[in-house]
Amino acid sequence: MFLINCPFCGERDQSEFSSGGEAHIVRPKQPTELSDDEWAEYLFMRKNIKGIQFERWNHVHGCRKWFNVVRDTSNDKILSVYKMGEKPPVNYK
């Protein structure tokens, strides 16, 4: 059970949050211009890596804000949190 440091509220139990999968997948601005394959890439394909992963989380039973989390999926350590729109920390790649 993680402790997640919500950038708006501070450290809270995982049960207050919901996970929103991989972060930094931007919805295409002109979907109609995309081929089926390109659209499928956006819609379905996710990295799901073992190691350092950028994820979206929502403080759903708190401030309801979405934010980003850098998590090492191999040991569940959360390395960083940052707000939507902020650039991902560069030291995790």
Binding site: M1, P31, T32, D36, W39, K65, W66
Partner: protein, 1000 residues
């Protein structure tokens, strides 16, 4: 009656005699006893039958690792509990326990025949035998297996006990109150850290607390005396909480742990009443010290499972702690020094004992002490067989060959009434691995040890592979100082004398002249798996330890292989010729010992099981005989059983009244989202498939919301209240998800939009009045409101007051009738409802529930998202292309609507079905086919909604059918268990295609 309690100890209060029953017979014990120690004091070893072969089994250990002595406690239907370890259950007055897995009784058990046919039931027996004939599975094999499976009996009535949950935060949690745990807790607490120390036993002190060997001393005192002073000291520390009878069940990530505290299990029944039985502690600790100790290993030899065969150290604890000897002529069989402590203790109390040691020789202090006491030691010998059916009465030993691979010389028969085994020690690394820690293998004494890998947890003491007292104390102090970043000097001058030498000669499967196939060398006592089974699994090609475990069921019983896993690994490693370190272990999963469901659910039972949401009109529905339906957490009236009628009759009456005159529905549960902001219209354009910019103020519009994959997600009517203000309604079940989805897009994809969302579902109550007379009723309620079609047409909105209270009134319809929805602040909801009912009396205004609502909308072919759709339906599949804007550049899901898969013509599409026999009502979920003769039958789709319509006097249904759009008029078949129902594909709208009733 024999009495094996041979001396007094400070842990047994002989002034407090306790009577208890075991298998119906009354015995006596004392306060301080466990059920196991009391049974042993009465000379009872035989306590159960084994799972598979029904072999007689006795108490093996004195703690959580016990595989055999698991009992059924009590006999009441609501309070009886199976699989309770007699070694952990504290004795109380009136305790009733019985042995499990035997019939008619433990001494004569019919199932014992399995022991004699055991060559016929090897590992994997079930997989191999019950495969064929196939038809036998359901009627013969499964019932038979179910009859003989399982340990003990579950209670058959609800648990009346009270359970509790508690959340706590600590700086340091110390698991285990043995010598290293006590030192760690003291160091942490004295350094001003808020500390919690838990131990599963009644008192602290672990195995040192009854240690009385003169060769092990601390500060010139017996180690037990020294520890007692330490315990007195830590009890005075103000920021240390000590919880005994508390065991950690699970160690999750981020130092989140679950502990079970036993509060009343040791009390007589009358004292248990109205008290909390067990409490589940949910602990967050900044740092965790694991000091869970180690457990002794059995040895694997032929017939090592007879009653009277125990772990050597347990014999010692029964003697020195409980004052009970496990026999009068005891043999100790060992591969290391530990058994010598037991031997010396027994000798001191005058109990005859002999040692069989597989080592060639050894010369530690303990051995010298035993030798000087004249205790007979057989070095380089091995036990090859044991005898005695209900209890061991003798055994055979033989000399080991030079390499230890075989036996040599003559059998020597020794008589005994008890055998102690000591195969060395297994560190309890469960907590470490549960927390995500890895293990390393130490070849020297064949143990898996925690690999330090975290700043947040550490293992100390014998669970870290430190076995002698000096090592334990020194290392614990050093490690804790470093771990907590402190400089504690309390133990700097502590003078410890302990035996450091402990040579060990490890042989996982002891050699025997008898072929393995004819031996019973048990590894897992509780699941009856033997060395032979493991070897068979390897022979049959299983290699992974996880596979061997499942095939042989080794380590899969309620004790989770605490005594057996290491031997299974060892034998696999030896046989396959791989190193144990490379082989690895099976996964250690929570809970460490079984938990009751009661502890896990705590207070969340009965009406606290789940949140119940009720509308403000709820009481009225109850008073008027509503049967309720759960929709999400909401209680919605399903139908109103007037004069005791059944659902069918109620629905026919309600739906007829709604169409003939007037009906009223509590629509408060529909999700309501208040949307405001200068970009509100643009936002709606992006989230709905249709266009919103041109919706006039005061008008309503139906919208369909898709997922990005193009599938229908939700629907509802949204009203434009003012220029930048909308009220969106969603389905009852989808309300929370729709809000989350909208917030997600606003925050992450379109943060530039000026839009604010507020859930107002609970803020407004809604009464929906429909039917040809609804306008007349509205007129009575709102006499000043112009209800003419010109002023207040279909799909529009007005505000008016009902006795000074603001109401929002929408003229919208989910039934196809002229219909109004009145929204009012929830605190006035009940009063609004009653006023509607009062005003509607002269028009037979009939309250109707969700079932009638479903019927009325189905007559009109309106979909219910989640009933007629299942996340694979596009608007086009629903024949709702009309609601998808062709002009809008983009909206959620638009691009997916022309993916190659979504434009396939043979997708399942929504159609109407009419049964050839109009009285026949289809079953929702029934499969639809065109031909019942072809094999396999081609499934075309299924029925999604089905009703008998009183207004049409025939059965109607909605269904999804492959290529359904092109099939109108075609005959299809619904094959049911006893018959085939013939149907014809129809339009989805069954009633009033011209929508005349909306303006009736």
């Amino acid at each position: 009656m024999p009495n094996y309690r041979i001396h007094k100890t400070e842990y047994i209060d002989e002034t407090k005699r306790i009577s208890f029953k075991f298998d119906g017979k009354t015995y006596f014990g004392y306060e301080g006893d466990t059920l196991a120690s009391a049974l042993l004091a009465n000379g009872i070893h035989l306590v159960g039958r084994s799972f598979k072969y029904h072999r007689p089994r006795g108490i093996v250990s004195c703690g959580a690792e016990e595989p055999n002595a698991i009992c059924q406690i009590g006999s009441k239907k609501d309070l009886t509990e199976p699989n309770v370890r007699a070694t952990e259950l504290e004795l109380y007055e009136g305790l009733q326990a019985s042995s499990q897995n035997c019939w008619p009784n433990v001494k004569f058990d019919i199932g014992g025949i399995n022991n004699f046919i055991s060559p016929l039931i090897p590992a994997g027996f079930y997989y191999k035998t019950f495969m064929w004939p196939k038809s036998f599975w359901k009627k013969v094999y499964e019932p038979l297996i179910r009859l003989s499976a399982g340990l003990g009996k579950s209670p058959t009535e609800p648990d009346p006990d009270i359970y509790d949950h508690k959340y706590v935060h600590y700086d340091v949690l110390v698991i285990g109150g043995g010598v290293s745990g006590i030192i760690a807790a003291k160091m942490a607490a004295k350094n001003n850290l808020k500390t919690l120390l838990v131990d599963d036993k009644k008192i602290l002190g672990g195995s040192t607390i009854y240690q009385n060997n003169e060769s092990i001393k601390i500060d010139d005192k017996l180690s037990s005396e020294w520890l007692k002073i330490e315990i007195q000291e830590i009890k005075k520390l103000s920021n240390l909480t000590i919880k005994t009878r508390t065991s950690i069940a699970a160690y999750h990530g981020y130092n989140f742990l679950l502990a079970k505290e036993n509060l009343t299990d040791h009390l007589p029944e009358e004292k248990k009443k109205n008290k909390i039985r067990q409490r589940l502690w949910k602990i967050r600790a900044k740092k965790v010290v694991i000091a869970t100790g180690s457990i002794e290993r059995p040895l694997v030899f032929n017939n090592n499972d007879r009653p009277g065969i125990l772990l050597s150290n347990s014999i010692n604890k029964y003697l020195d702690y409980y004052g009970v000897t496990c026999g009068e002529n005891i043999i100790l069989f060992t591969n290391n020094d530990s058994a010598y402590e037991t031997s010396i203790s027994l000798h001191k109390k005058g109990i005859m004992n002999t040692i069989v040691d597989i080592r060639k020789s050894a010369s530690s202090e303990l051995i010298k002490q035993a030798e000087s006491l004249g205790i007979k030691i057989y070095f380089n010998h091995v036990v090859t067989n044991t005898f005695g059916y209900r209890k061991i009465n003798s055994l055979e030993i033989m000399k080991l060959s030079e390499d230890g691979n075989t036996t040599v010389g003559n059998k020597i028969r020794l008589s005994c009434d008890c055998l102690g085994m000591s195969g060395g020690w297994t560190p309890m690394v469960h907590m470490h691995t549960q927390s995500g820690g890895k293990l390393d293998f130490r070849d020297e004494d064949q143990v898996f040890l925690p690999r330090e890998n975290s700043e947040d947890q550490i293992s100390v003491g014998s669970c870290n592979g430190d076995f002698d007292l000096e090592n334990i104390i020194d290392k614990t102090v050093n490690k804790i100082n470093k771990f907590l970043d402190i400089d504690n000097q309390d133990y700097q001058d502590t003078n410890i004398i302990s035996s450091k030498e402990n040579d060990k000669r490890n042989i996982w499967l002891l050699p025997n002249k008898i072929p393995l196939g004819k031996t019973k060398c048990f590894i897992d006592f509780q699941n009856d798996s033997t060395a032979k089974d493991i070897k068979l699994a390897l022979k049959e090609g299983f290699r992974s330890i996880e596979h061997v475990k499942r095939y042989t069921t080794t380590g899969m019983a309620t004790d989770q292989g605490k005594l057996s896993n290491m031997h299974a690994l060892g034998i696999i490693a030896d046989t396959a010729g791989v190193k144990m370190g490379t082989l690895g272990t099976t996964t250690f999963r929570p809970p460490f010992t079984p938990l009751t469901f009661g502890t896990l659910v705590g207070r969340n039972v009965g009406k606290f099981f789940e949140v119940v949401r009720k509308t403000s009109m709820h009481e009225w529905h109850v008073e008027n005989n509503a049967e309720f339906e759960n929709v999400g957490q909401w209680k919605r009236p399903w139908y109103y059983a007037k004069n005791g009628e059944n659902m069918h009759d109620a629905v026919q009456r309600e739906s007829k009244a709604a169409r003939d005159s007037a009906g009223i529905l509590d629509a408060s549960t529909l999700g309501k989202i208040d949307i405001q902001g200068t970009d509100a219209s643009e936002f709606l354009n992006r989230v709905y498939t249709n266009a919103w910019s041109k919706l006039a103020i005061g008008k309503c519009r139906y919208g369909l919301m898709l997922n990005e994959d193009g599938m229908v997600y939700d629907d509802g009517v949204t009203t434009r209240i003012s220029e930048n203000h909308y009220l969106m309604t969603t389905t009852t079940g989808g309300a929370a998800n729709v809000l989350s989805k909208l917030e997600d897009y606003l925050q992450t994809e379109w943060p530039e939009l000026d839009v604010y969302l507020t859930s107002v579902t609970d803020h407004y109550s809604t009464a929906s009045i429909c039917g040809p007379n609804s306008k007349k009723i509205l007129n009575k309620l709102f006499p000043n409101l112009d209800l003419s079609d010109e002023n207040f047409p279909h799909m529009s909105f007005k505000e008016d007051k009902l006795e000074n209270i603001n109401c929002r009134i929408m003229r919208i319809s989910f039934t196809g009738e002229l219909s109004y929805e009145i929204n009012i602040e929830s605190k006035y909801g009940h009063s609004l409802w009653k006023k509607c009912i009062e005003a509607g009396k002269e028009f037979n205004l009939t309250p109707y529930g969700t079932e009638t609502m479903h019927l009325l909308r189905a007559e009109k072919g309106f979909i219910i998202v989640g009933q007629d759709t299942d996340g694979t339906m596009t608007p086009s599949d629903l024949q709702m292309d009309w609601i998808v804007s062709k002009k809008k550049y983009d909206f959620i899901g638009k691009r997916s609507l022309y993916r190659s898969d979504t434009i396939r013509e043979d997708r399942k599409q929504l159609v109407g079905l009419l049964t050839d026999d109009p009285k026949e009502i289809l079953e929702e979920g029934a499969q639809i086919v065109s031909n019942v003769k072809s094999k396999p039958i081609d499934m075309l789709g299924h029925v999604t909604s089905s009703y008998f319509s009183p207004n049409l006097n025939k059965s109607i249904a909605l269904a999804v059918v492959r290529n359904g759009k092109t099939m109108k008029g075609q005959k299809l078949i619904i094959p049911m268990e006893n018959k085939n129902i013939n149907v014809t594909v129809s339009d989805t709208i069954f009633l009033d295609k011209e929508n005349k009733r909306l303006n009736a």
